[in-house]
């Protein structure tokens, strides 16, 4: 049971990473292509990536701790 949950957590964490990467690329494309203010665009991208990275790190850490 524990092993199954552990595998499920790793798979979900990786799926979440792929999802965030896709959303990030889409957002980045729109911001760089269509936004009219490069400063706002840069700050928005940095903030989005930073928060998403923190949450992904938390997920992977939780999955790793559970599997120990």
């Amino acid at each position: 049971m524990t092993e199954t949950i552990s595998i499920a957590l790793w798979i979900m964490a990786m799926a979440a990473s792929v999802f965030v990467a896709i959303v990030g690329v889409m957002l980045g494309y729109h911001w760089i292509r269509f936004a009219m203010n490069s400063y706002v665009t840069t700050i928005a991208l940095i903030v989005f990536c930073f928060v998403a990275l923190v949450l992904l790190v938390a997920m992977f850490s939780a999955a790793f701790s559970y599997s120990l």
Binding site: M12, N37, A44
Partner: protein
């Protein structure tokens, strides 16, 4: 920075705005409330003892919380992107709306300000009135009337005023362009007519058989004509066009027409056309612009009657009845078909075969004449029984 929009030559941006911030606020609040639902549910269920033990482990709680926060964070990012990329741009020629719908759908609409017929601004409820935002509806002219709706517009009354200013500005520019075009055509018509006459005089000299006295008369007349033509053109270019006539001079139409008949009688008789003038006893005096009446109206009508009469008679009648001066010119020339009659006084309104008879025709002579007569509060019209049955032109001008 990459340009999100290409402006047309001469186009300038007047106003750029996004949806009112309250629209983003409502969307964000909705998402944040959704964020708390699982946490509250977990808290309640764990108190009631319905949560399995493995779900209460710190690692699982951290994982699920992070996953949920990540989903909400992505949703918020998409919402803010939609808000940031939804833009309205008002330029001096267009109203451009850029709508970003999620991450896969983006539409850009243009409404030319010259096509906008109606624009209304609405505050639809008390929240919109309080925060001063609302809906803008734009009706444009086209094959099928088309409404454009913009929601969440901040200060819609101000935006409407800005668009209305651009519409008025565009209307004035169109009017000025039309006036300039009309003036150019009138100048073109006048120049052509003088050049044609000078060419005829030169041809007569080239043919020979003219004695010195006649040659001198011809040269003097050509010089007088050219001087008069240049003066008329300067007069037109100074703004005394058909659309802005100053009714200041007292003009004796009888003297004016008599001089024109004398001027044209020789060329008419050479062509085999008899030019006759019948006048009444009453004075034919009007108030107006002598140059415009002479060059744009009577000269044009007499010149046309002779040109379009290969051989025959041109009879000019002039009379006054105390209210109006009545001028008519009847010729036995090529006549006017009903089809040509419809476009006779319109700018560029050539007759179907008029170029065959008069290759120099610009199609703007009668249009200029009509504009000049109407600027004098008069009217001009024509009658013809059809092709080969001659034509009669009538002018009525109020007496001074």
């Amino acid at each position: 920075m990459k340009k999100a929009l290409s402006l047309l030559p001469g186009e300038t941006i007047v106003l750029v705005f996004r949806k009112h911030w309250i629209m983003l606020f409502f969307d964000t609040i909705g998402t944040v409330v959704t964020l708390f639902i699982p946490f509250v549910a977990f808290f309640v269920l764990s108190h009631l003892g319905y949560v399995p033990e493995f779900l209460q482990r710190v690692e699982i709680l951290t994982f699920t919380s992070s996953l949920w926060l990540l989903l909400v964070w992505c949703t918020l990012a998409v919402l803010w992107t939609d808000y940031y990329l939804d833009i309205w741009i008002i330029t001096n020629t267009r109203v451009i709306t850029i709508a970003q719908i999620d991450l896969f759908n983006r539409s850009v609409s243009n409404w030319g300000v010259d096509r906008i017929q109606e624009i209304t601004a609405h505050h639809e409820n008390i929240v919109q009135t309080f925060f001063n935002y609302g809906t803008l509806r734009i009706l444009t002219a086209g094959p099928s009337d088309e409404y454009g709706t913009a929601r969440g517009v901040p200060n819609p009354d101000h935006v409407r005023t800005v668009i209305m200013e651009q519409i008025n500005h565009a209307g004035k520019l169109t009017q000025i362009n039309n006036q300039q075009q009309e003036l150019l055509h009138t100048v073109n018509h006048e120049v052509k007519s003088y050049l044609t006459r000078d060419a005829a005089a030169l041809a007569a000299i080239a043919e020979g058989g003219i004695d010195n006295r006649s040659l001198r008369n011809l040269a003097e007349r050509a010089l007088k004509e050219t001087r008069s033509g240049v003066a008329a053109l300067i007069h037109l270019l100074n703004g005394a066009t058909s659309t802005a006539t100053a009714l200041i001079d007292t003009v004796d139409i009888k003297t004016m027409v008599d001089e024109l008949v004398q001027q044209y009688s020789e060329s008419a008789s050479k062509k085999g056309v008899t030019l006759k003038l019948l006048t009444g006893n009453s004075p034919c005096v009007v108030r107006g612009d002598a140059v415009a009446l002479r060059d744009l109206v009577f000269k044009n009508l007499i010149d046309n009657a002779i040109r379009y009469t290969p051989q025959g008679n041109v009879l000019i009648s002039l009379a006054a009845d105390g209210k109006d001066v009545h001028f008519s010119i009847e010729d036995s020339g090529v006549g006017i078909s009903p089809r040509d009659m419809e476009k006779l006084f319109t700018p560029g309104g050539h007759g179907e075969h008029s170029k065959d008879v008069n290759p120099e025709s610009t199609g703007y002579g009668l249009s200029s004449a009509k504009s000049a007569v109407e600027a004098h509060n008069g009217r001009i019209w024509a009658k013809s029984e059809g092709p080969e049955h001659g034509a009669t032109f009538f002018v009525e001008l109020p007496v001074a």
